[in-house]
């Protein structure tokens, strides 16, 4: 019979190994970001020589330089505007549609819904090619509204699915009460359904905000003029132009990554829910 001490020390050893493993992986997740930030505080001269994580001098003016000279200030604003407008658009459009799919009956309801779901699961590689052609025809290329409409479409199917699932489970009593009180359908949607759907709406908002902020391809092919570009495209353009101005590039990368990381840390709960729910569809 193996002694108690054997089992206990074995358990401790296993725990140590497991923790070491977890911490090692966690470090590889965080370290590149620390290095990015650290590099952004060095100068063009020191960045190729100073290989310490904490730079000898802190050159915060790189951020001012990147913001003004590098133009990232303008691109940051663009990203904020595009993300906010698209997310707002998706929330309104998808919640209206999801509510109708859940609560109303009309001819073709199921068919239309299934088409939306199918679109979510069928991959069309290179769909940006005909989108480019379409936007050209509509004279919406190199415009903010063209990009915004495209991005609203991108997020529709998933958002409709998430919201309809929620509305299906929502108890009908409150809506019935509102209807008896003479509330219109739109009123019920606005005053009963939406407030109750706040948790799901949070997921919809966060997931779509993440997608729009990080989006690259559509922005690449839609925007020609730099003042209209969002951050991701601006970063790649900057990298192409100033291939050696690394500190400024790192500052730009930090400016781009920081909002996402902050949103993620605060809204982590909703992102996890959205990811696992979305995965269960497939």
């Amino acid at each position: 019979m193996k002694s108690d001490k054997y089992y206990r020390s074995k358990k401790v050893a296993v725990n140590v190994i497991v923790y070491a493993f977890l911490i090692a992986v966690a470090l590889t997740c965080i370290f590149p970001l620390l290095w990015m930030f650290s590099s952004s505080l060095k100068t063009q001269e020191t960045i190729f020589k100073d290989m310490s994580l904490i730079p000898k001098e802190f050159h915060f003016e790189n951020y001012i330089l990147a913001w003004k000279e590098g133009g990232f200030g303008r691109n940051f604003l663009n990203s904020i505007v595009y993300t906010s407008v698209v997310v707002f658009g998706i929330v309104v459009v998808s919640s209206l549609a999801a509510y109708a799919f859940s609560r109303f009956t009309f001819p073709g309801r199921n068919l239309i819904f299934y088409v939306f779901m199918a679109a979510m699961m069928i991959p069309i590689p290179g769909s940006f090619v005909p989108l480019y052609v379409l936007l050209n025809k509509l004279h919406l290329r190199n415009t903010a509204i063209g990009y915004i409409l495209c991005m609203i479409n991108v997020g529709l199917s998933t958002s409709i699915f998430l919201l309809k699932t929620f509305f299906d489970k929502m108890p009908k009593e409150l809506e019935d009460a509102a209807r008896i009180d003479g509330c219109s359908k739109l009123g019920i949607w606005r005053h009963v359904a939406l407030p109750l759907a706040k948790p799901v709406l949070a997921v919809v908002v966060v997931l779509n905000a993440l997608n729009v902020w990080n989006e690259y391809v559509l922005a690449l092919i839609i925007f020609d003029s730099k003042p209209l570009m969002p951050l991701q495209v601006a970063l790649m353009t900057f990298q192409g132009e100033f291939i050696t101005r690394y500190p400024l590039l790192m500052a730009g990368l930090t400016i781009t990554a920081l909002p996402i990381i902050l949103v993620y840390i605060f809204m982590q709960k909703y992102i996890v829910k959205g990811v696992t729910q979305g995965a269960l569809v497939g």
Binding site: L22, V25, M51, T105, P130, V133, I152, Q239, M250
Partner: protein
């Protein structure tokens, strides 16, 4: 009255349907249409070429099939290493450990970053001359391992694949963890009472119950990784000498580089078909293994 009611209902779905129609369905139809033309995207006249685009892709376009192979290689690495890592981490976090939420938070940071940010940061770390990795390798006395990770044709593709794994394992981790946590603890208790050790309960409880989750993760990994390209644009731009080219990048090049819109659409169709076939095969395989 009924008509008014129905019209009202339609109004709710009208914005969504309109946007969907214009920005999804019409382009979807156009892909198939344009695939049969030779067009530079600007001239008002398109030349109808029938199926010759498809024929060209299938018989002459070597770079296309190289890009397919590259994507397959990256996907293979992802399926094996990325998901193995994700699963091991999920197993490690499934136990009652104190910092589970902290690790869950940290492991999902790479996925929420944009491909551009990830690609450019890693490009800087992997730089042949001044990148942190090589500087550190030289420092600890292994200068022979300090390669030009992203510009050496031998190492470029694998390097890109590894960074892709770094960015992606968080997804698999979350899904595996969610799956592990649905297994009732009583099963493990009962097994322990019956004298099973850790390996026995893993083999007879954990593994069979996790097979559907593993298959789901595999399908998602394949679909996602085969279509990956922004990370590659940010890290290597497809080089050196096409060694990191991938299919979607080729489609982008056909459109912007060669200005062959019809050809790009044909490439998209062929790629889409291949993806559907792969997913279908995976799905059928999953159905069979569920007769466990």
């Amino acid at each position: 009255m009924r008509i008014k009611e129905t019209l009202e209902n339609y109004l709710f779905v009208l914005p969504a349907v309109t946007i969907f129609l214009v920005f999804y369905l019409i382009p979807f139809i156009w892909v198939f249409q344009l695939g049969m033309y030779e067009w530079d995207g600007i001239l008002p006249t398109k030349i109808f070429v029938g199926l010759s685009n498809f024929k060209e892709i299938l018989t002459q376009d070597n770079i296309w099939w190289l890009s397919m192979w590259n994507a397959g290689y990256i996907t293979l690495i992802a399926i094996i290493f990325q998901n193995a890592l994700a699963f091991m981490l999920a197993m490690a976090c499934d136990r009652e450990i104190r910092m589970k939420n902290f690790f869950r938070l940290v492991f999902f940071i790479p996925p929420v970053l944009s491909e551009v940010v990830v690609g450019l940061v890693w490009q800087w770390i992997l730089d042949g001359n001044y990148g942190l990795l090589n500087v550190w390798l030289v420092k600890i006395g292994l200068p022979q391992l300090a390669k030009n990770w992203l510009s050496d044709p031998q190492t470029a593709l694998t390097t890109v694949a590894v960074v892709h794994c770094w960015k992606g394992f968080g997804w698999g981790f979350l899904i595996f963890l969610a799956g592990l946590q649905t297994i009732p603890r009583e099963l493990y208790e009962a097994a322990r009472v019956d004298g099973a050790n850790a390996w026995d309960s893993f083999r007879n409880i954990t593994m069979p119950l996790m097979v559907p989750v593993a298959i789901l993760v595999a399908i998602l990994t394949v679909l996602g990784t085969m279509q990956a390209f922004v990370l590659i644009i940010a890290m290597t731009g497809g080089g050196p000498a096409y060694h990191t080219q991938v299919p979607v990048l080729r489609i982008l090049a056909s459109m912007r580089g060669s200005s062959r819109f019809g050809y790009a659409c044909a490439q998209g169709i062929i790629f889409g078909l291949i993806l559907i076939i792969i997913s279908f095969v995976q799905y059928r395989f999953s159905k069979r293994s569920r007769q466990y």
